[in-house]
């Protein structure tokens, strides 16, 4: 790790000012950034620690949505009775992230701002059509994830919370990379209160995406059989040591079917 300065922010405004002043990076749970720094793959001159900002923590129900603060840890989501009552799929997703140590440190805001192509949270944000609330405004889920580690956030814009609309039903199914245990493919299926179906896929490309053939199939019939029969093209999907694009394309409907079957 290279030497860096550490600043502790007291508020969101303070954090934004420190980032602007130092040109540093925001430190949320540090589960991706600190690892990259230890490998000398990232070398920020300064880190602005968000962990002391009380306004970024917590979970609350607000009308038809569950609002999760950006610095809420995965383990806190997993243990939340409010989330479990409203959107149990988020509890299942959060308790399946990494291991216990990662879940105790990693945060929702950090995960979506980092936008790792194999992260779980982006599938939920996109699958539920959530709204990303930031220091500068709001972003719709569609269009938030722009590319590999790339989002619609401006350089000094901080995620403060995510508002997840409560669906009629939703579920997440993940196929783990045998080595890293990250999502080789993760599929989030949701049927909104108005019956609209959204299906989001993570792990399969540089950016999570909504899967049109599955959304069409499940809109017609929200059943596992319908999901399994859908055909997903391998075009544009990632290929690596652990999965070819064809294998990922095959897994997407299989996982969608398993997600639906779990409901």
């Amino acid at each position: 790790m290279y030497a860096f300065e550490l600043h502790k922010a007291k508020s969101v405004a303070d954090a934004a000012a420190l980032i602007a002043k130092t040109g540093g990076k925001a430190l949320a749970g540090g589960q991706s950034l600190v690892g990259a720094m230890k490998l000398r793959l990232a070398q920020p001159g300064a880190l602005v620690d968000l962990s002391g900002i009380a306004e970024l923590r917590g979970i609350r129900r607000e009308g038809g949505a569950v609002i999760v603060g950006a610095m809420t840890r995965h383990a806190e989501v997993a243990a939340s009775a409010d989330v479990k009552a409203a959107i149990p799929a988020l509890v299942a997703l959060a308790e399946g992230i990494g291991d216990r140590q990662v879940r105790n440190m990693g945060t929702l805001g950090g995960a979506i701002a980092h936008a790792d192509p194999a992260a779980d949270w982006p599938a939920a944000v996109l699958g539920l059509g959530a709204t990303v609330i930031t220091s500068k405004g709001r972003h719709a889920a569609d269009g938030f994830f722009k590319g590999l580690y790339e989002t619609a956030l401006a350089g000094d814009e901080l995620v403060t919370a995510v508002s997840f609309p409560v669906p009629r039903k939703a579920a997440y199914a993940k196929f783990r990379n045998p080595a890293s245990r990250f999502a080789l493919v993760g599929v989030f299926v949701a049927q909104a209160g108005d019956g609209a179906v959204r299906v989001a896929v993570t792990g399969a490309t540089a950016t999570p995406f909504r899967c049109a053939p599955l959304e069409a199939a499940l809109a017609k019939s929200f059943t596992a059989d319908a999901a399994k029969a859908a055909k997903v093209s391998a075009n544009g999907l990632s290929g690596d040591l652990h999965a070819s694009p064809e294998y990922r394309a095959h897994l997407i409907p299989v996982l969608a079917a398993r997600a639906v079957a779990s409901l």
């Binding site: 196929f175 990379n177 890293s180």
Partner: protein, 788 residues
């Protein structure tokens, strides 16, 4: 079981070492922090193959905190790292043995090849400075696959090894094998890849080297499995230092699995530099560094054929293997795919004729050497996959084809040089099948099918040659070292005992097992015995721990020393009891005049030896301290049968090991709990090879693609089933403990059992062949191909 019992043989005494390990009080090399110590960092090659046009260290030398920067140009008078085993080829010539410089000289030959050592005040300063070293590389084409390396036109890695060949070596009667194949009723064949593995001891390699001007001596703390061998190789072959001036200490070591047997470049350069720098130097490998600098394992490509008569009786076996040596010959690399591989191809079977030819190739990869099992897992995989295929081809049940060919009369001379002293293969097969409830398999398969799963069962009846080894036989086969073991038993005046052993414990529990051996032989409580190992300054000598040899060879050396202790004790007791020495019996900790109740306890005799007031000083030296060196007369032959059941999810290709039963014959067992732990660990490593682990290099660039845990899949607790293990005992006939060794058996037997089960499951969907690891992607592709 109370530890203060003296009747402790065969009892699961709790491990004496666990208190310190479980409370964080272990002392590992990284815990050693001498005053004024500096830190080393090794700059490694980013290229698989490149010429070094020049190295400029001037900026690094000027960097903050830097104490020294060394390259090969500085290492004047330092030789290359030696290979400890000379293989003679079929052409009668010695193997090609290119130099293995401590720091790269003229060329780099694999990603991770050390180029320079930076010594600085802190690890970070050393690392920062390494980024200021300018190495002018001319990148050359690379080759990573051992078959490709031998092809015409492949990049030439060493001038001393034309065509990248290290040797072609053969064992067995080729003419007899060819004749048997000519008259065979059936021949089964397989082309097999034994996947390359990266060892992953939980403690990375580490060293602390220092030079003491006052004593004019060096001390090296190093995470090693065999500190005496490390010292011998380093002083005699590389640095030219007087052996008595170098003390090597291998303190607590967190796992080795073979990877810590070898003499490596890092500690060698550090010992050399410690005198020049005048301060201790410390280095602990980072995990990503371990991936590109610890010797790898396996990496064979094999064609194997088995000739049978019409009833499935084996007539002959023919095996051609290409083995990857990596970029340089590691310490024991050359003997792994030859002496420890081809000699095991008889397995548990009476196959009368076997011929094996092995070509070893250099490639632009990390050197390959012994990894838990070392040659024997590769041999078992060939034999047991081939036997499974033969069973399929001959339409015989898997237990039946094995039974038709089992060796039942001992000693048995195989056609590949070994003489098995004893064994009971039917008993292990029967017990493994009972543990596995083979009778219920059909019902379990049908039930799994209802859930959409393909269930399969696989067998592996393995054998290994352990207890390495009779030195004269090893020498005749090319070993450049002896393979005995040393032990010293120091009885203290009050009757407690310290044992000094040349074996090294890095997870095996010797401090407990060896103490049990001593306690039971002397009739004293096990807590009265301490075991010291891993220090050339305290232990007389040692060849170290590998090849499941510690109890069979190291334990026997201790027994021989104990025999001397008892013999001397008998003389002392005879004097005290005023009886003839020949009338003194020793049992249960007491020297007794035969046929009487007159006796002296072991403690009384020990005290007399050190307070010799009433003592035959004219005939006998005082004191009670004996040393023995033991050189075995044969290998030991642990063997057993493993039965594995898997379920395959055809939708995803996921293989789950749902049941695993193992019945092993390790000879006599001292501590069943420790043995069971060793079996569990070995089976888990076997599962890693069969289903998860795969070292992958990019064929073009030679970059290591599976270079971190993000891409190299280690087995985790939830990957393994609850193992069902049992034992049968045929005591080893040629050591006094009757012990054979247990450390590697799991890793040797398991991969074939698991892969045979995978093949059995996938036969239902028409898949006939799949290589390790049977990863979900690979299994899914095989199913797709079979359906197409």
């Amino acid at each position: 079981m109370g530890a203060s019992d003296t009747n402790v043989m065969g009892k699961s005494v709790r491990r004496k070492e666990d208190y310190r390990f479980l409370t964080g009080a272990g002392q590992y090399t990284d815990d050693v922090n001498p005053d004024r110590h500096t830190h080393a960092y090794f700059l490694r090659s980013p290229h698989a193959h490149a010429r070094i046009r020049g190295i400029d260290t001037s900026r690094a030398k000027a960097a903050p905190g830097v104490v020294a920067v060394c390259t090969s140009a500085d290492l004047e008078g330092v030789n290359g790292l030696p290979c400890g085993w000379l293989i003679t080829g079929t052409d009668g010539k010695p193997m090609n043995e290119p130099p293995h410089p401590v720091l790269a000289k003229g060329k780099v030959r694999h990603v991770g090849d050390p180029v320079a050592m930076v010594v600085a005040e802190t690890p970070n300063q050393a690392k920062d400075a390494s980024e200021l070293i300018d190495v002018d590389y001319e990148v050359l084409p690379a080759v990573v696959n051992c078959v490709d390396a031998l092809k015409r036109g492949a990049p030439q890695i060493h001038d001393e090894a034309p065509g990248n060949k290290c040797y072609t070596w053969a064992l067995g009667d080729k003419a007899a094998v060819d004749a048997a194949f000519a008259k065979a009723a059936h021949v089964s064949k397989l082309d097999i890849v034994n996947n390359r593995l990266i060892p992953n001891a939980i403690e990375p390699r580490a060293a602390v080297a220092s030079y003491d001007r006052a004593a004019d001596g060096y001390t090296l703390y190093v995470a090693s499995q065999n500190p005496h061998v490390e010292r011998l190789l380093m002083t005699a072959f590389v640095l030219g230092l007087p052996e008595h001036k170098v003390r090597v200490i291998a303190p607590d070591v967190g796992g080795g699995f073979g990877s810590k047997i070898y003499l490596y470049a890092e500690e060698t350069a550090m010992v050399w530099a410690s005198k020049r720098v005048g301060r201790p130097i410390k280095w602990t490998a980072e995990r990503s560094e371990s991936f590109v600098s610890d010797a790898h394992g396996r990496d064979h490509v094999t064609r194997a054929e088995l000739a049978m008569d019409k009833d499935g009786r084996f007539l002959a076996m023919r095996v051609h293997t290409t083995a990857n040596m990596g970029a340089y010959l590691s310490t024991f690399a050359s003997c792994i795919p030859t002496i420890l591989y081809a000699t095991l191809l008889a397995g548990q079977y009476t196959t009368p004729a076997i011929y094996c030819e092995v070509t070893a190739a250099f490639t632009n990869t990390v050197p390959v050497d012994a990894y838990r099992g070392a040659g024997r897992p590769e041999a078992t995989y060939v034999v047991e996959r081939l036997v499974h295929q033969a069973g399929v081809d001959m339409k015989l049940p898997q237990d039946e084809i094995r039974r038709r060919n089992f060796i039942r009369s001992f000693p048995h001379q195989t056609p590949v040089a070994l003489t098995y002293d004893t064994g009971g293969y039917d008993a292990c097969l029967d017990e493994a099948m009972r543990l596995a409830d083979v009778k219920g398999f059909a019902a379990r398969k049908a039930e799994a099918a209802k859930r959409g799963k393909l269930r399969g069962i696989g067998y592996s009846s393995y054998i290994e040659a352990c207890g390495l080894a009779p030195s004269n036989i090893a020498g005749a086969l090319g070993a450049r070292a002896g393979l005995f073991e040393a032990g010293e038993v120091r009885v203290h005046p009050t009757g407690s005992v310290t044992v000094f052993t040349g074996s090294h414990s890095h997870g095996q529990g010797h401090e407990t097992t060896f103490a049990q051996v001593v306690a039971s032989r002397l009739g004293i409580p096990v807590e009265n015995v301490d075991v010291v190992h891993g220090d050339t300054g305290r232990v007389p000598f040692g060849m170290g721990t590998y090849g499941s040899r510690s109890l069979a060879v190291g334990g026997t050396a201790i027994v021989k020393a104990l025999d001397k202790i008892v013999a001397k004790g008998r003389k002392i007791a005879a004097h005290l009891l005023e009886a003839a020495e020949s009338d003194i019996e020793f049992a249960d900790g007491k020297f007794t005049v035969s046929g009487t109740d007159r006796s002296k306890t072991f403690g009384e005799v020990a005290l007399t030896a050190y307070v010799p007031h009433n003592y035959p000083l004219d005939k006998l030296e005082p004191g009670l301290n004996e040393t023995a060196f033991y050189d075995p007369t044969n290998f030991t032959f642990p063997a057993g049968t493993h039965v594995c059941e898997v379920e395959v999810d055809p939708d995803t290709g996921v293989v789950e090991v749902v049941a695993f039963s193992a019945c092993d014959d390790f000879g006599n067992i001292v501590n069943p709990m420790i043995v069971e732990g060793q079996v569990h660990g070995g089976l888990t490593q076997g599962l890693g090879q069969a289903l998860l682990e795969n070292c992958v290099y990019d064929a073009e660039s030679g970059q290591l693609l599976s270079g971190t845990y993000m891409d190299y899949a280690m087995p985790r607790a939830d990957d393994v089933p609850s193992f069902n293990v049992g034992t049968k005992v045929t005591p080893c006939t040629h050591n006094p403990l009757g012990a054979k060794g247990c450390g590697e058996a799991g890793a040797i037997g398991a991969p074939a059992a698991m892969m045979n089960a995978v093949h059995d499951a996938l036969a239902a969907v028409g898949v006939t062949y799949i290589d390790m690891p049977a990863s979900p992607h690979r299994v899914w592709r095989a199913i797709q191909a079979a359906r197409a």
